[in-house]
């Protein structure tokens, strides 16, 4: 990157412009004119207060107590209850955006062959299967416990996929994408089918149609568990596919 004079002048000009813009925005945030300002709404007045008290359908003053039943949503993890229940459509789209990215990566890398390769050491080669076992178990636990503890389909799927990434590093990987592609399809169609079941059995797309349990129990969250398992399958296979597209030595099929 040759630092010629024009480039430096350009950098400084951009810096000055951005400083001016920042100053203006700072003044806007501190203006005393009437009207709502940044952070002027306490959490009790935001929509998310209803998610915290699980009282979207019936406004009550009842608080969420561990181990009790009778709430409109059963997840103990409130973030999960938003991600997979209250705003589940966002999550469907989130899955789709990863799906689009995967499709884009596979589409643009089609028919490419990698040229270089360096052998991994013996320690890496023997160590990685053992590590992968733990990685996979951790990932599956993160997926299954998503409604009780921090985690869920996305980080869990990513952790499972990172195991595959590790094995790409160790072995000269002759990719067999078929399994991942089929898993991807199963995950995607599963999410749509769950959504449509909500539409046909209840009133709206992606509505919960399963019984809820006590807060903190394993089978407490209705469709959240199913959706998170499907998301985990889909996310892990998609991320693995992205990895394969980047490192694979054998890219014969032109998808």
């Amino acid at each position: 990157m040759r630092a010629n004079k024009n480039y430096v002048i350009f950098n400084i000009a951009v810096l000055i412009l951005m400083l001016v813009a920042t100053l203006y925005i700072y003044k806007a945030f501190n203006s005393k004119a009437p009207g709502r300002r940044i952070m002027s709404v306490p959490i009790e007045k935001r929509v998310s207060y209803r998610y915290i008290t699980k009282s979207v359908l019936n406004p009550t003053e009842r608080r969420v107590v561990f181990g009790e039943t009778g709430y409109e949503d059963g997840s103990a993890n409130l973030v999960t209850s938003i991600v997979v229940n209250y705003r589940a459509f966002d999550t469907l789209l989130e899955v789709i955006i990863l799906f689009t990215a995967t499709a884009g990566v596979l589409f643009l890398m089609r028919g490419r062959k990698r040229t270089g390769y360096s052998e991994a050491s013996l320690i890496v080669k023997t160590g990685i299967p053992i590590i992968n076992l733990f990685v996979a178990v951790t990932g599956i636990v993160i997926i299954l416990q998503g409604h009780l503890t921090p985690g869920g389909g996305f980080p869990g799927g990513a952790v499972v996929a990172s195991g595959f990434f590790l094995s790409f590093l160790a072995y000269k990987y002759k990719a067999n994408k078929t399994v991942f592609l089929i898993l991807e399809t199963i995950g995607g169609l599963g999410i749509i089918i769950v959504g449509l079941l909500g539409l046909f059995l209840k009133l709206s797309f992606l509505e919960n149609f399963m019984p809820l349990g006590p807060i903190g129990g394993f089978f407490s969250s209705g469709i959240v568990l199913i959706l998170y398992i499907l998301i985990g399958i889909k996310v892990s296979s998609e991320i693995s596919n992205i990895g394969i597209a980047f490192v694979s030595h054998d890219e014969k099929e032109g998808l």
């Binding site: 990157m1 993890n77 973030v79 999960t80 089609r110 028919g111 490419r112 990698r114 040229t115 270089g116 993160i142 921090p150 985690g151 869920g152 996305f154 980080p155 990513a158 952790v159 996929a161 990172s162 990434f165 991320i239 992205i242 990895g243 980047f246 490192v247 032109g254 998808l255």
Partner: protein, 90 residues
């Protein structure tokens, strides 16, 4: 607590400036991973544990891995002068 936050803030800001002015792409990608990890630490401080797990696994690890894979791939292309064009499956 506040001193910890100040130190982390300084590391993040210095790190992200270093990314922009780093000559080697590999080092830049590595620093980016560190900045992401620091961000995960910030999420823990802000009581966003879900976000912290996701940022650590996706933002810090997988993204950095992808950067390394693609830098490796670019170096391979540079070395072998691979310039074959594909014609199938347009």
């Amino acid at each position: 607590m506040i001193y910890l936050v100040i130190v982390m803030t300084v590391i993040m800001i210095v790190g992200s400036i270093a990314i922009l002015f780093q000559k080697t792409l590999r080092k830049a990608a590595l620093i980016s991973g560190i900045v992401s990890l620091m961000a995960a630490g910030f999420f823990v401080l802000m009581k966003a544990y879900d976000v912290a797990i996701t940022e650590a696994s996706i933002g810090a690890m997988l993204t950095t891995a992808l950067y390394f894979f693609s830098i490796k791939r670019i170096e391979e292309i540079e070395k072998t002068g691979e310039s074959e064009t594909r014609d199938e499956g347009k």
